[in-house]
Symmetry: none
């Protein structure tokens, strides 16, 4: 399943949200991460201009949001539901950290819609609501200050869902042409001549210099153009 399919199958469910600004922030957070399904359980105020303002261009998420009366309705048709919870609860199901939970949600999205449920800003989720879900999830907040904002929590979880779906593994691709072994050795030979002529390098006294220089330039993974720049610089120093 591709990225859009997986993320498109994740419902973000906000239960009994008090502040419409947080609904807007959640919509924006979702859209930046490629999620689209927002479900609101008995929001205090929705639609609301404050939500629209905070959504900042993610209006389509708000326009398509489904408003329902109960969490049970919100979860209809899902194959799995996770609930963000700040409190440690006496429950049979063990809590998962956000990262691990995101991986499981994305993987289960292969089978159908999955839900990630967020409770009210101050009261969180009721025990009954948590019991409707299959997995309690926790963000590893500081023990001395755990007051994660609702919009920020949605952002962190949507980010983890996207990371799980992308499974990027590697850094963004390199767009430059790396220098060949011969070009790099050519640069080292040139550097050797120039620093010997300048008096900086004396093979008798400074046996440890070359290993250090190779360590330094070896780390760069020089590109073709960069070898030319460095050699141009050396030539200018030599001529002077």
């Amino acid at each position: 399943m591709n990225l859009d399919n997986a993320l498109g199958r994740v419902r973000v469910v906000l239960s009994r949200t008090s502040h419409p600004g947080n609904i807007g922030a959640a919509a924006r957070a979702m859209k930046t991460m490629g999620l689209s399904q927002l479900v609101l359980v008995a929001p205090q105020s929705f639609p609301d201009p404050v939500a629209t303002a905070r959504a900042a261009g993610a209006d389509d998420i708000l326009a398509n949001a489904r408003v329902v009366e109960t969490l049970a309705e919100a979860l209809e048709g899902t194959v799995f539901a996770a609930a963000l919870t700040a409190r440690r609860r006496e429950m049979a199901v063990p809590m998962k950290w956000a990262r691990e939970a995101a991986g499981e949600l994305v993987s289960l999205a292969g089978h159908g819609d999955v839900a990630l449920v967020f409770g009210n800003e101050t009261k969180g989720l009721s025990n009954e609501d948590v019991a409707l879900c299959h997995m309690p999830v926790k963000v590893p907040v500081s023990e001395s200050y755990s007051s994660l904002n609702l919009g920020a929590a949605v952002q962190v979880l949507c980010y983890e869902l996207r990371m799980a779906a992308l499974d990027p593994g590697a850094a963004p691709a390199v767009e430059f042409e790396p220098a060949t072994h011969e070009q790099i050795e050519g640069f080292y030979a040139h550097l050797d001549r120039a620093i010997t002529a300048s008096g900086f390098f004396n093979p008798e006294n400074s046996k440890r210099l070359w290993p250090r220089l190779r360590r330094l330039f070896g780390r760069i993974r020089l590109e073709k153009d960069e070898v030319n720049i460095l050699r141009g610089m050396l030539s200018a120093f030599e001529k002077k």
Copy 2:
């Protein structure tokens, strides 16, 4: 180094923030993740009651925030700086994803303060500001809607920093003593003098040279000793 030490050494630098609400959201995001050092470069309005309201109990972070005029001041005394950037920039040092960058920042925090820099809400960071940092960082946002809110971006990065600090095994070990920001800038100034005197660099003709040189040397993460070697080499070339 323990968790609190590593996170306590990360400076969150907000450059030219327009909306005080985002400063408050950043403070709250930091505190939930165990970070404490906030530096504000020329904020439009600070202190501001809107920032305090959004900080929601993270007032101590705001009270201890340092306000400075330039990014260079904000980076004084750091051993490494990363910059969040949304745009793909020509000549930038290769970008890292947030997760990988967080691992490196936490690892480098073993050597001293490190900085993570966030630009203005609409304009981002100037090319000059990005050039002062050693690593551009990107959150893998959706290509069709990349409008990550500033407070949300701080939340995601602080979360990744905390995750990296919780599991330091994941981050690559650093075995050397990195050069400080001042030492690296000192090397650049020396290089500038030397290549100008040699005739290699002519500010009229080669506007693209400096971005390339910063990209090249920025990738190395120079060590203290290496800066000394390079500057010794430059001095020898200058004398010749």
